[in-house]
């Protein structure tokens, strides 16, 4: 199994609900708490496993806003695991999830230095590195209903922009989506073989305006009156 996420940049509305749901679930999860620093102060900061950033693609007038959630890509060739001197960082053989053993981590931050995606954040209070677990304490929990055995970010997404599944299974929803929609990996040139895949926005055809009828004389007068008279 190679578990991971597909993130649809066409439907993501950038609401940060995935980031908040992640924080809420994981702060009481296996690698919690996700410590906050001065949460009610002037400069609130803290540990997050998932962050959403916003970009503008293209030049005016052909621009598009793209919302980009970024969390651990659960790379096939994970550099964070390679550089870890203590063996605290490891990649599970059975499902490819990259985890940190909090009891072994010495907090040297080298894995965060090796990660180009900013997926790892040091908890200054616990002194250990923390990261996305792909909600390992949800997806294998038999006490949950089968439809709830998904990462918190996937379940909460109101736009259904996030999908969870097995990339080794060619018929899984994530494999089909990334195949059919031309899914992309981020920074493929570094060779870390990230699992998470991003679906590019669909190119929608322009809405034709040739057949739009002009308004009647009466409606033009009404429009003018409505504009001219202040309420």
């Amino acid at each position: 199994m190679r578990l991971g996420l597909v993130i649809d940049l066409d439907t993501c509305v950038g609401c940060h609900a995935c980031a908040v749901a992640c924080k809420q679930w994981n702060t009481s999860g296996t690698t919690g708490p996700l410590t906050d620093e001065s949460p009610y102060g002037a400069a609130p900061s803290g540990v997050w496993f998932n962050r959403v950033r916003h970009y503008e693609v293209g030049d005016y007038p052909h621009t598009k806003t793209v919302n980009m959630p970024l969390s651990c890509m659960h790379c096939d060739d994970a550099a964070c695991v390679t550089v870890c001197p203590t063996g605290a960082s490891y990649k599970r053989g059975e499902d490819g999830i990259v985890l940190v053993d909090q009891d072994k981590c010495m907090g040297c931050s080298l894995c965060a230095w090796a990660c180009p995606y900013g997926a790892r954040e040091l908890d200054p209070r616990d002194g250990v590195m923390k990261k996305c677990t792909l909600c390992i304490d949800r997806i294998y929990d038999d006490a949950l209903a089968p439809e709830d055995r998904q990462p918190a970010c996937v379940i909460t997404c109101p736009a259904h922009a996030r999908h969870f599944g097995d990339f080794d299974d060619p018929d899984s929803a994530v494999s089909r989506l990334s195949r059919e929609r031309g899914g992309r990996k981020l920074m493929p040139e570094l060779g870390y073989e990230p699992t998470n895949t991003y679906l590019p926005p669909r190119s929608a055809p322009a809405v034709p305006t040739a057949d739009v009828r002009r308004g009647s004389l009466m409606s033009s007068v009404k429009d003018w009156v409505n504009k001219a008279i202040a309420r």
Binding site: V57, M68, M106
Partner: protein, 311 residues
Amino acid sequence: MHPALSVILFTVLSGAGYGLFSLVTLLHLTGLYPAPGPTELMTQLGLALALITFGLFSSTLHLHNPKNAWRAVMRVRTSWLSREAVCALSFYPFALIYLWQIPRAGVEVGPLMVVVGGMALFLALLTVFTTGMIYASLKTIRQWNTALTPANYLLLGLALGATALAAVHAGFGGRSEGLVLLALGLVLLAGVMKGLYYLWIREVTGPSLNTATGFTQARVRLLDQGHTAGTFLTREFGFDPGARRIFRVRLGVFGFGFLLPLLLMGMVLAGGSSLWLALALVSALAGIGLERWLFFAEARHGVMLYHGQRT
């Protein structure tokens, strides 16, 4: 990258210590050390061990969970940091036996000293190389991901070690042109290598915001990084001193690190007082300290692309 004082102290001081130890051992074993006395050799090697130990202790200060530091020897197969830890630890027994042998055997080199000294020499240089490789192996930081990084670490450590060697030798009243020439040559070589490094990193390579977001056919700009205050990522990787400050510090690196020591050593060779060597050592340590600060400060981590930083 955020320049952490503990890591700067560690790499500069232990680099100098390993450089000093390996040069003293090499000269002693080959019989090239000018008029060696047991006290002088002990002082040289003791100073080297003190620098190394202080540096290694300082390196543990940047760990956020030092009680697990002993685990750092567990992943020698993949991690350069683990390899560094193993090399640094296995250096000690050989170095201490070597040091212990000097008052017993005098300055004569016996077979035990050749074996132990050879191992200490090899492990000292290997430790400095592994330190360089920790940085050179990170593909996320283009300024570090080059063979010039370990080359710089090795040469700068040897240059500092040679300067210290000549200064301590002068402190014992010795006046050896050979040692000063060795220091002068190594400082010059290290300076040329550092110059090459600064030329090399001018070329922008590696990922861009286009490959980082997957939009490779259009311009991509950051609209909003999604948080109002700093995060671990911006604190650790977002340090940017600016081009003017980088230029000024580079002047300091070349001035204090290479030019002033070269000038002072030239004065000593021309017949000046040997005391200038002490000033050369202080100047070189300050200059290489600036060099190490800059090594971190001017490195750009790939994740900052996502935060709107270019190159």
